[in-house]
Amino acid sequence: MVLTTGQAAVSTVVGSALGLLAAAGAVAAVTGRPVWTQIPPGRLGVTAALAVGVGLLTTAARLVPVLRSSRRAEVTTTRRRLERGWNPLWRRARLDFVALGVGVLVLAVNLFAGGLQQTPIEGQTLALAFYVLLAPIALWVGTILLAVRGLLALLDRLTRPDRARPLPNWPATALRWLGRRPARTAVALTLGALAVAFGTTVTAFTATYQTARTADRVAALGSDLRLTPPVDAPPPPPVAGVAATSPVREVPGQVGTDRKTIAAIDVPTYQQAATSRAQLLSGQGVEGLAQDPRGVLINKELADGFSVGPGDVLPVTVFPDDPLRSRILPLRVVGVFRAVAPMDPIAELVTSTTAIPAPPPAPDFYLVRVSPGATPATVAENLRRQFPDSTVTTLGTLVVPEQRALTALNLRGLSVLETVAAGLVAAVGVAVLGAFFVLERRRESVILRTVGAETAQVVTTPVVEGAVAVLGGLAVGIPVGLGLGLLSIRILALFFTLPPPLLVVPSGALLALAAVVILTSALALGGALYRVARQPAAAVLRDL
């Protein structure tokens, strides 16, 4: 017992050191800087301690059953194993059903609590809302274990001794073999599917995050380009490559005692120049402003705060701090929006310029839509040349002052780290367990050779089992991962202005993941088979 514990302790120390070095190296490779230059030493210490803690837990999970079984007589252990057969703990405990139940329960609680609502969730409330992400984790475990349970049940049914039929060929023999001795292949399949599903979820999440981020920036800019003229500049004349321009005025306003910003748009030109569609919660959008010159679109916070909706009249004070121009306007709410471009600068109300008492203030900026065939970059260059005193903003140069840090994260690095790790786990899982399988059957292989089996016949069984593990892992893991990605992505709706797309499938990353898994597994299996083939038969038979 002391020796086992000592050996486990040494392997834990060595493994933890290796793991920490690998983690530091991977993060440095992704971020481009050594971790100790970016993170305070105290924080590094906490991180290292937490990571080593997981290593200790892994060792404990392995060691405790060994130590418990060592207290039992060997004959008891053997009898237990023979009586139980191959019926793993998760199957006996119905872990798959429990995990699925937990996942569904978390989702149900969230649904009954009103779902994921963007406002007024923020700060710590937002952190609490992340409990929803526990559902995909539980469903991830449950779905894959259930799939493996189903597969094992099918194999068991097909290969039951009372249903045994004559074996027509070697692959059929291998399948029967697999059905009756599924332990290692099932472990490899389960690990592969779990890892592939994890990698798929992370890549889908990251791809959707990037798409949502781009969509937010497009909505913030409002059009292909933005032209901010000097204060006393006349409206811009027609420019080659520009399809439409539309002035936007930021008018100070006050609703109740709260100061607000009103975006006054020129409705006819706005509809030609805006590239991002309005996201409405109720009522009409900009077309409603075209029909009602005294109409106004308000955001959800305002609608909730003042209990107004489409059709209601909202008294709005314009220029509240300017005694000469201050006036109360009874504006009719035509719609409640989640987003109306441009979202930067933030305006709580959007109305037509005609609703603002004349003369309207000078435009703060112009939305510029480029002609079909022209690129925003080229047109931006043209505009800069033609209006050197103006500022031309592109999607790339846009700085959104109100941008939340959560929407500015670089998730690409995390995605690379986790996808590579998932690929590695899947590949190593399938490859190592497959290789073990081959190595352990070296005696069997030698006996088959001795009785006249050819190489192709000898390798059929390991190849079939390896293929089942690899392809099964991919076939189960990718759809499950995409499905879980679909759930996880809903959390993005809490902090992005626009609702995220349903799911962005990163086909390139998924193909790369599959290729890595297949290639590594093939290499490991091939290496193991080659090694077995080179072993002298006499040496192996002597061990029998």
């Binding site: 690998a22 971020t31 993170i39 059953p65 290692r184 779990l194 100070p252 100061r259 840090a405």
Partner: protein, 372 residues
């Protein structure tokens, strides 16, 4: 015992290494996620601070405070990059042929413009006189004005000098025999005339229009008609008149109960070195609070410091927590599957040659397996 232990480690070296790799997988997974989170969070402080135009504002408690001296003290505080003098006042602006109009007067030093790109003035406008914001320029009479007169909305009444005590004869009534003195004529209203030096574009200068303190601190109160003059001119000409007009009423300069811009204010706009902030947003918010208190203490209570970056840092702090939770929940399955691989690889590794199984079938994994 040790020889046996060493032999057990060395002989089935592959099993030992496999055990180590099994531990390394979950450690590396969790370690890389946490390290990545730790290296990402500092970018949140930078993102939060980037749009802040003025990190802190030192508001004079009254118009009598010497902000030039206060600025010198503030600039000595560690982390303070620069201190710029700034003043505002509600004024009446008039020009020949134009009706007097209410406007907001801003005063800064010329080098303020070098550090604050959000304010755009015609070249040399401050040195030449006053820079008028376009909405003021657009008013009839101001478009072509070469000079404007600035006066205060409240007439400045110089305080009456105290009357010398007259000798009183106890036998005579006090008022008898003394001729009644006519009150002095009211002084002409205070005003100065400054040449128009150019145009000011203040559309992006949101800090200038932000309510500096109180419940609605940070609300933008836009007064479109505005003009900018040199701080030296303000200090010499306008500030004394404002002090007189305020008559010692400190609420002119600082009124935390107000929901609008103060009638006048003298301030120091404090730029804090972004590199001096701790990289963690939470730590940065705490650090900024300490700096704010240090500045207030060193100014001996004459100024009140408001932290314009505090709200952004608080949000970034909350977002940092959210990002950590998000990253960990996203990566947790990876840690679990890494640990499962470690266990499975260790348990299912082939026995060394010569070690026989209790049962010839490999259908069941060895005892102690997580799988068994």
């Amino acid at each position: 015992m040790w020889w046996l232990f060493l032999r057990l480690v060395r002989r089935p070296l592959r099993r030992f290494l496999l055990g180590a790799v099994g531990v390394a997988f979950p450690v590396a997974m969790l370690g890389s996620i946490l390290l990545y989170v730790d290296s990402t969070v500092p970018s949140m402080t930078a993102v939060a601070l980037a749009p802040v135009q003025v990190e802190m504002r030192a508001l004079a408690g009254s118009l009598d405070v010497d902000m030039t001296a206060a600025g010198r003290v503030i600039s000595q505080v560690p982390g303070v990059l620069r201190v710029d003098r700034f003043a505002t006042a509600d004024v009446i602006v008039s020009a020949p042929g134009a009706a007097p109009t209410a406007a907001r007067l801003f005063a800064v030093d010329a080098d303020y413009l070098d550090h604050h790109p959000e304010v755009s003035l015609s070249p040399g406008a401050l040195q030449a006189g006053a820079a008028l914001a376009q909405p003021l320029r657009d008013l009839p009479g101001f478009t072509a004005a070469t000079a404007v007169s600035i006066s205060l909305p409240v007439p400045v009444q110089p305080p009456a000098p105290p009357a010398p005590p007259a000798p009183v004869d106890p036998g005579q009534p006090a008022d008898e025999g003394a001729p009644a003195e006519a009150p002095p004529p009211p002084p002409p209203p205070w005003s100065i005339t400054v040449p128009v030096g150019g145009t000011a574009d203040l559309r992006q200068a949101s800090t200038w229009y932000a309510v500096p303190s109180g419940e609605v601190q940070g609300d933008i109160a836009v007064v479109p008609r505005a003009l900018v003059i040199d701080y030296g001119v303000f200090e010499r000409s306008v500030l004394p008149a404002l002090r007189v007009a305020a008559g010692g009423d400190s609420s002119w300069a600082f009124n935390p109960g107000s929901t609008s811009l103060p009638r006048a204010s003298v301030e120091a706009h404090i730029a804090i070195d972004h590199a001096a902030y701790p990289t963690d947003p939470g730590q940065a918010e705490i650090w900024a609070g300490k700096i704010r208190r240090i500045i207030e203490r060193q100014s001996a209570g004459s100024v009140i410091v408001t932290d314009n970056a505090a709200e952004a840092l608080l949000l970034a702090k909350a977002d940092a927590t959210n990002a950590k939770i998000l990253f960990i929940l996203l990566g947790l399955p990876g840690v679990l599957v890494g640990a499962a691989l470690g266990l499975a690889a260790r348990v299912h590794s082939p026995r060394p040659s010569g070690v026989s199984r209790p049962c010839s079938s490999s259908a069941a994994p060895p005892a102690g397996s997580w799988w068994s």
